[in-house]
């Protein structure tokens, strides 16, 4: 695998920002970080002033705003745009502002230094190509200085310039400067980061910002502006293996377009690809675009594209398109180094939602290998990862995902963690426990010898997945068998997949945890879909209580899916109880039983809802038959048949 080497070469012309006046300058995004009150916002204000980047009237406005609060002139009011920020004199949220140096268009990202707002610092810093870490000469290295240094490393920001501010408060002492330089260099070197410069300044007075002054005459290195000029823009990762995470599949017209952004590598029509984690192979037929389509030529990292494939494959959001031979690894287990932002510490056994690009999976924390506060000098080991702390964890995923260690691919080798729908942490994939799957390139799907219309002409129906969901004892299996008999009598080809029956064989390795239930449904859906693609009507009878799992089944079966909610009232189901399950569950002898709790999530848009307490089995079968006719599965008459040939 390729490693990422930070580029030190001058920017190539295609990376530059074409200016209307004909000159070109690379655009670089730089975040200013450091401990609270060490002068981040002041440095930004000073930089804008020194480079002549302030709009007309802004300086006067700042003077007025400062005077109104009875304060001396305050540069930070320029960026602290929120009323509460100005009133309290602290930066709450990150902001961005632009200015130019001789050779760069710079987007400056100001980030809050207060520990309370670390999530906002991360939001800002994650967008940066380089960073300026600011340290108060009087106060020296503080906990937020160390914490920000550590987070820069976790966020993948490798270019860091150090600024020692408020040199006026230490009488521009070279000794004090050297002591701080040594301390911070040692800390960053320990994280594998070498500062690009260490600069003594006074942001308030301007020393060292754009010019050397006599007061820091002993300093011979670059000014802040010169140091910014040396930072390089991030480059798209074209040299790495192809990774195209699938954002969506669009069927707006007769094209089936797989849409996503190329995170690394490149692709062109005709490429042999493999779709991970399933390991299905195909060829890229076209690269679609608008207003002109298709587009010829190679598409590189950073592009948002749409491709079509040479065969009909089941793909879903979160899959990764890669080249055969250099595919990412498929796994249900990984180790990650993470930062944690949630109030409740992350502990072993916690249930999470993990996102790797567009892929999401439920996950369980199997082990906490390390948990430290990166702000502390002595790293005290904890059992759980506290808010604003970092650590290493092992996670077990409920679905297979495709991913890379971040050392192989910094774009796909990272993840975020959500708790209650809000981002609660993030980090890097350190290693992947690869599954025992066959090598994808060895799998060559064989197409059936028969055409779909040959089968439908004989059976007088199209292939379908008829999915019966409902509480235990609601009548799913009874209805399924009645439907099977009726379709068969009419010359059709129904096949029954009863949840319990399949659990006895194919799914005998699965239990009743949420993850196992999902996998049970996925396998049922895959088998049923295979039957439907071959012209049969697969009748699935399964409690399938989770809406999300049934949605996954619908995605797999796609247009062949017909959901029937067997909505017999819970009281009636419990009274019937043919297998004695309700009785056992009431007695506490059957864990994870769906029915007596509130854990059955009823469908919201089923094709048909049937209450078996209100009609006979024959009447219910009539209704299903009618629904299958109106939704185009069963052929009504010879006319319909003709239309389908």
């Amino acid at each position: 695998m390729n490693m990422i080497a930070p580029s030190a070469s001058p920017a190539a012309p295609d990376d530059t920002h074409a200016m209307p006046n004909g000159t070109t300058r690379p655009q670089v995004r730089i975040v200013i970080v450091g401990h609270v009150d060490h002068g981040k916002s002041t440095l930004v204000g000073r930089l804008l002033h020194e480079t002549g980047s302030l709009p007309d009237g802004k300086l006067e406005m700042l003077k007025a705003v400062s005077a109104r609060r009875g304060m001396p002139f305050e540069w930070s009011f320029l960026l602290d745009a929120l009323q509460t920020e100005r009133d309290q004199g602290i930066t709450i949220d990150t902001t961005q502002i632009r200015f130019r140096t001789n050779s760069r268009d710079i987007v400056l990202i100001d980030a809050p230094g207060h520990a309370e707002f670390l999530r906002n610092m991360i939001t800002g810093a994650s967008q940066a190509d380089g960073a300026v870490l600011i340290i108060d000469a009087l106060e020296g290295v503080r906990d937020q200085t160390r914490r920000h240094g550590y987070l820069l490393h976790l966020l993948g920001v490798k270019q860091v310039a150090i600024v020692v501010n408020k040199m006026d408060r230490v009488d521009f002492s070279a000794d004090r400067f050297k002591a701080i330089s040594d301390e911070i260099s040692a800390h960053l070197n320990g994280l594998g980061v070498t500062p690009t410069a260490i600069i003594p300044i006074s942001a308030r007075d301007g020393d060292g910002v754009a010019a050397h002054t006599d007061r820091i005459g002993w300093y011979k290195g670059p000014t802040v502006v010169e140091a910014l000029d040396r930072l390089e823009p991030a480059r798209p990762l074209e040299a790495l293996a192809l990774r195209l995470p699938v954002q969506a599949i669009y069927k707006f017209d007769d094209r089936r377009i797989v849409a996503g952004r190329i995170e690394s590598g490149s692709l062109v029509a005709g490429d042999e690809i493999v779709i991970m984690p399933a390991g299905k192979i195909a060829k890229i037929k076209t690269v679609e675009s608008w207003p002109v389509t298709p587009v010829a030529g190679r598409q590189g990292a950073g592009r948002s594209v749409g491709i079509t494939l040479d065969r009909e494959l089941f793909l879903e959001r979160g899959d990764i398109v890669a080249h055969a031979g250099s595919a990412p690894r498929e796994t249900r287990r990984l180790r990650a180094r993470i930062f944690w932002l949630h109030d409740k510490p992350l502990a072993r056994g916690d249930q999470l939602l993990v996102r790797c690009g567009p892929k999401e999976s439920r996950a369980t924390v199997v082990a906490i290998e390390k948990a430290v506060d990166p702000g502390e000098l002595s790293s005290v080991e904890n059992k759980a990862i506290g808010r604003n702390h970092v650590g290493e964890i092992d996670i077990s995923l409920s679905t297979s995902i495709a991913t890379d260690p971040y050392t192989d691919n910094p774009r796909t080798g990272r993840l975020v963690i959500e708790v209650s729908g809000r981002i609660a942490g993030g980090g890097l994939v350190l290693s992947v426990d690869a599954g025992q799957r066959a090598v994808p390139v060895d799998i060559v799907p064989v197409e059936s010898a028969l055409r779909p219309d040959e089968r439908s002409a004989r059976y007088r129906h199209n292939g379908a997945v008829v999915w019966l969901t409902g509480l235990p004892a609601s009548g799913k299996s009874t209805l399924a068998k009645a439907l099977e008999r009726r379709l068969f009598t009419n010359g059709g080809s129904p096949i029954l997949l009863d949840g319990d029956t399949v659990r006895a064989g194919l799914n005998s390795d699965l239990g009743f945890s949420a993850a196992d239930r999902s996998e049970n449904i996925r396998r049922l859906a895959e088998v049923a879909t295979h039957l439907a693609r071959n012209g049969h009507i697969a009748i699935v009878a399964a409690v399938s209580p989770a809406r999300e799992d049934r949605a996954a089944a619908r995605r797999i079966a796609d247009i062949a899916f017909r959901e029937i909610h067997v909505a017999t009232p819970a009281g009636v189901c419990e009274e019937r109880d043919p297998k004695g399950h309700y009785k056992k569950a009431r007695a506490g002898a059957l864990a994870s039983f769906t029915g007596i709790g509130n854990d059955y999530e009823a469908p919201q848009a089923a094709e048909l809802v049937i209450d078996t307490s209100k009609r006979t089995v024959a009447e219910a079968a009539d209704e299903i038959e009618q629904m299958l006719k109106t939704t185009g599965v069963l052929f009504d008459d010879v006319g319909d048949l003709a239309a389908n040939i």
């Binding site: 109104r68 745009a81 949220d93 632009r98 592009r303 809000r422």
Partner: protein
């Protein structure tokens, strides 16, 4: 990839995420240069046709050229156009300064439209470089049940992972061109040949840099009569883009108060 290609790819990524992760979204079409670029990007993202409604929250006080533009291109671009009215000025917070109060009608109109359709996401064409509180925005920005923006508690957002789960009854604002600048918008408009309202081009020594309600928007001095000249002018100018928008300049926090209440 050049700079405009990168901006475009990022915006397309954001639009596709919004469409994939939310249930019912609409794009706010203010008819200005930014939202026209946004519609263009949406057509690129979804291969020709915008697969969700384009909503114009109409104060009824826009320039005639803007209404002509809306009616013409709404058809030509095959938009699912929804024009939603704003309530009268009496319905708006009387403590706001006059121009801000006038602009706040749009917020009220937006709330009515949200209640009417039940959107859980609204795509808006604001940019960080326009104004200081917008610079603090997230790409996916959660709004409270009243449509309000809680600036003190914005969620973390990094590595293009967005918080896309608004609480029941609340909605998200999605900002696909947050990272663009005014000059980027014009350079892209030129490259892609996107139609514009002629009010942006100088006539008798004046042009509009930003278009809002007729009574609270003023033109700036300019001789730029085509996009190249606008770009050359932006290279030199130190006048902020929204200088002609009266509502920004009434009090120190007028714009912030508008935004906290749900203004774009």
């Amino acid at each position: 990839m050049d700079h405009l290609d990168q901006l475009e790819a990022q915006s397309i990524y954001i639009l596709r995420e919004a469409f994939a992760r939310l249930k019912k979204i609409a794009l706010l079409w203010s008819l200005g240069k930014d939202s026209n670029v946004m519609i263009w990007l949406a057509r690129k993202a979804f291969f020709g046709r915008v697969p969700f409604p384009a909503m114009h929250v109409d104060t009824g006080k826009k320039f005639p050229e803007m209404y002509q533009f809306r009616d013409h291109y709404g058809k030509e671009w095959e938009l699912d156009l929804r024009v939603e009215p704003c309530p009268p000025i009496d319905a708006v917070d009387p403590t706001l300064p006059p121009a801000a109060r006038s602009a706040a009608r749009k917020t009220e109109g937006l709330k009515l439209a949200l209640a009417k359709y039940g959107f859980d996401g609204l795509i808006a064409g604001i940019r960080r470089d326009e104004e200081a509180t917008r610079a603090k925005e997230r790409v996916f920005s959660p709004r409270g049940l009243e449509g309000n923006w809680d600036v003190r508690d914005q969620p973390p957002e990094f590595w293009d992972h967005f918080n896309a789960s608004p609480p029941q009854g609340a909605h998200l604002r999605i900002h696909p061109i947050l990272h663009w600048t005014e000059a980027d918008i014009w350079a892209y408009t030129k490259r892609e040949n996107i139609p514009i309202i002629p009010l942006y081009l100088a006539k008798d020594g004046k042009r509009y840099r930003s278009l809002g309600d007729q009574d609270i928007t003023n033109p700036v001095n300019s001789t730029a009569s085509n996009i190249d000249e606008i770009l050359a002018e932006l290279e030199q100018t130190k006048v902020p883009e929204r200088a002609g928008r009266a509502l920004d300049h009434e009090t120190e926090d007028a714009f912030e108060r508008l935004r906290v209440a749900g203004y774009l």
